[in-house]
């Protein structure tokens, strides 16, 4: 077998593994979110379906799969159905360069950071199509808000990743992880705390999580851009939201928290708890704070995050050039 065929088989197998990992994670996260929400609110959360409600996400999945796929009367069917597919499809690509362990990676690519950031930007287009294609003014408002929000928060996201790239000198996620040491104080979060905070806030905004969840503001816009979706259309949006959460949390863990590095034995057993720890913090934040108003959201990005990340970048560049 030639090299190319082996590679193709490897990538296909990897995609299959990724998709199953993504589905399992979506199921786990749905359950976790509802349990965390319940306990913060001093109530049990799902409890009936299976012991302690473990089978609840399966029940949800069966329900979503079993519903009728309705296209609203005046909706543009092509755009309407392209949107959920476009929202979920790039996710698989985003997982390709993520190294869960020292040798556990589907694709050996040396521009991993750019690949992930580029493909997660496709989500904006998906939501825009969803809002416009639904022929619903509320969806349109949600989509418009989402575009402005995503565009506004891409910039600080990229600017806060830059210092890490400058420190490492490479775009390869494996190299970035290897450059961080084994012990927690050697991780980049202590060298670049401001970048970490900015990256995390932008990650919350990019994945439309509270307090930045205006595009799908449940109490203002009656579900925003996914008002008209039911059944698996909504299911795809739902899954893509949780999967993007995993992608950005993995990015944060790799860039700032040392990825698969850990005290005794580096491996995926350090990576997964870090990712889940960050996910729990995201959920914690969601259930605590009210929503930020739209113009305040943009103000935070333009007046606070972009200047802060620019200053951080300049300071890092100065320190690096002084030290070398």
């Amino acid at each position: 077998m030639s090299e190319i065929t082996l590679n193709i088989i490897r990538i296909w197998a990897g995609l299959f593994i990724i998709l199953s990992f993504v589905s399992v994670n979506a199921i786990v996260l749905v359950y976790l979110e509802r349990k965390v929400a319940g306990h913060i609110q001093r109530r049990p959360g799902p409890f009936e379906v299976g012991p302690h409600g473990i089978l609840q996400p399966f029940a949800d999945a069966v329900k979503l799969l079993g519903k009728q796929l309705i296209t609203p009367c005046y909706a543009d069917a092509i755009l309407y159905w392209a949107a959920p597919i476009l929202s979920f499809a790039p996710v698989a690509v985003c997982f390709l360069p993520i190294p869960a362990g020292p040798d556990t990676r589907v694709m050996d690519i040396n521009v991993g950071v750019i690949l992930i950031l580029a493909f997660s930007g496709l989500n904006v287009l998906a939501l825009c199509l969803a809002g416009w294609g639904s022929q619903n003014k509320w969806s349109l408002l949600g989509a418009a808000r989402n575009i402005a929000q995503s565009v506004g928060y891409e910039i600080p996201l990229l600017l806060s990743v830059m210092p890490i790239l400058m420190l490492t000198g490479s775009l390869d996620l494996n190299t970035i992880t290897q450059n961080q040491g084994v012990w927690p104080w050697e991780w980049y979060v202590f060298k670049q705390p401001l970048a970490f905070i900015i990256f995390f806030v932008c990650a919350l905004a990019e994945t439309n999580r509270a307090p930045f969840d205006l595009p799908e503001a449940e109490s203002e816009l009656t579900a925003g851009f996914h008002t008209e979706y039911s059944g698996m259309g909504f299911g795809l949006f739902f899954m893509s939201e949780y999967t993007y959460m995993i992608v950005v949390c993995s990015m944060t863990a790799l860039l700032f928290l040392g990825g698969w590095q850990g005290p005794l034995a580096p491996g995926w057993w350090w990576f997964v708890p870090k990712v889940y720890g960050l996910l729990l913090i995201m959920m914690w934040i969601r259930w605590t704070f009210p929503r930020v108003r739209f113009d305040q959201l943009l103000n935070v990005s333009w007046k606070w995050l972009i200047p802060a990340s620019l200053l951080n970048l300049l300071a890092t560049a100065l320190v690096i050039s002084l030290c070398s």
């Binding site: 929400a37 913060i40 609110q41 001093r42 109530r43 005046y74 543009d76 022929q135 003014k137 509320w138 349109l140 408002l141 418009a144 808000r145 509270a210 307090p211 969840d213 205006l214 503001a217 449940e218 109490s219 203002e220 009656t222 969601r286 259930w287 605590t288 704070f289 009210p290 929503r291 930020v292 108003r293 739209f294 113009d295 305040q296």
Partner: protein, 388 residues
């Protein structure tokens, strides 16, 4: 592909959509914050004309929950009508109870025994706390915080337990009768109320830390929806809405009824008139209610709870009377016209939310959509009360 909505409105739609005269601009969207919306508290429809996110005009459409309460007042006799008064505003039913019963007692010239007055005050103030707690929870739910409502409901459960033992229900309380109260307070009620006062006082700092001082909430609520004194007077608004705009009008002070003049309590008044002022007024009103309950429990006299010789079928003499009380939302009034028969001739219910809602179109112009939600929430509307 044009936005179908505007074309539909031109030809079809319902009466209100057809007669909504938008401003002669080409680039605005006409949107229906429809009868089904998570943030209009109840079945309220607001027709909006928006330009991007800014609201140009807003027009509320009411009547989706009209239940003919006033008509039922012409058909049922005085005692049979009392459960209706609990359902008009299901959050502060004891205020509506009191308004109706007080009106009938005024007509009949009946003096209610002292113990009954104290029971009425204690239960009405407990109900006020419960109403404000629910307002707080749902206001924050509108703003996107999903947890404080459940904390508020945990406190409301305690209140529901206390009031359940005396009234028999957990939501639509109906305790007052013409001439007094239906049931008396026992020692367990007094003890539980005292415990509740302590418990509630320990919860307020948590609410302050979690919500009132929260940066995001402050940004959503400060400076939003300023209402001037003139606008309040123009629309006849009352309650925390006007007290947040600088008008010191509280029915318990301005037209004292029952024995409220024996208690020392403040009516918080703020000058700003924005949503934050309305928020703070209600939070402080809860604390003042606790103060009133404490004083009332100390001064509680013994005695009867019903006036002597109250007929089973009250027949007030012919006449017209108006009685107003301070409800959680404002001035709750009942105008009762009797013609000497066991059934009233006319029951007119003056609901505070109706007048408060009339403020909304004049202050909604030029605000963002998210701010409009915040303003509607801070006005504390109960739509069944608006539609009766």
């Amino acid at each position: 592909m044009s936005l179908i909505g505007n074309d539909i409105l031109a030809g079809k739609g319902d009466f209100y959509s057809r007669n909504f005269q938008p401003t002669p601009r080409e680039d605005t969207l006409i949107l229906n914050m429809g009868p089904q919306h998570p943030s209009t508290h109840g079945v309220l429809r607001v027709m909006l004309e928006i330009d991007g996110e800014y609201i140009i005009r807003a027009e509320p459409v009411i009547g989706y929950v009209h239940r003919m309460q006033e008509k039922m007042g012409e058909r049922l006799d005085y005692n049979q009508y009392l459960p209706n008064m609990a359902r008009v505003d299901y959050l502060h039913p004891l205020a509506w109870n009191w308004a109706f019963v007080g009106a009938a007692e005024k007509l009949m010239g009946m003096q209610v025994p002292e113990r009954a007055e104290y029971i009425r005050i204690i239960t009405c103030e407990l109900n006020r706390i419960s109403s404000h707690l629910l307002w707080w929870g749902t206001y924050l739910l509108d703003l996107g915080a999903f947890t404080p409502i459940l904390y508020a409901f945990a406190d409301r459960e305690k209140l529901a337990d206390i009031l359940q033992r005396i009234t028999g229900s957990r939501l639509t309380f109906s305790l007052y009768q013409i001439g007094g109260c239906k049931a008396d307070m026992d020692d367990r009620f007094i003890r539980e109320t005292k415990e509740f006062i302590e418990y509630m006082r320990s919860r307020f700092p948590m609410y302050k830390d979690l919500v009132t001082d929260n940066l995001i909430l402050r940004k959503r609520v400060e400076g939003i929806g300023g209402i001037t004194r003139e606008e309040c007077r123009k629309y006849g608004a009352s309650g925390p809405v006007v007290r947040a705009s600088g008008i010191d009008y509280d029915v318990r002070r301005a037209e004292p009824y029952s024995v409220y003049d024996r208690f020392e309590f403040d009516c918080p008044v703020y000058e700003d008139g924005d949503a934050l002022a309305r928020y703070l007024v209600r939070m402080q009103e809860m604390e003042q209610s606790l103060k009133i309950i404490e004083q009332a429990l100390k001064q509680l006299p013994d005695g009867e709870i019903m006036a002597p010789k109250v007929p089973k079928k009250p027949k007030p003499p012919a006449g017209e009377v108006y009685h107003a009380v301070e409800g959680g939302r404002g001035k709750v009034g009942v105008c009762l016209i009797s013609d000497g028969s066991p059934v009233p001739y006319r029951v007119k219910l003056r609901s505070p939310s109706y007048s408060n809602l009339s403020l909304f179109p004049s202050i909604a112009g030029g605000t963002l959509l998210a701010d409009a939600i915040s303003i509607l929430g801070s006005l504390d509307l109960i739509v069944p009360e608006i539609d009766r």
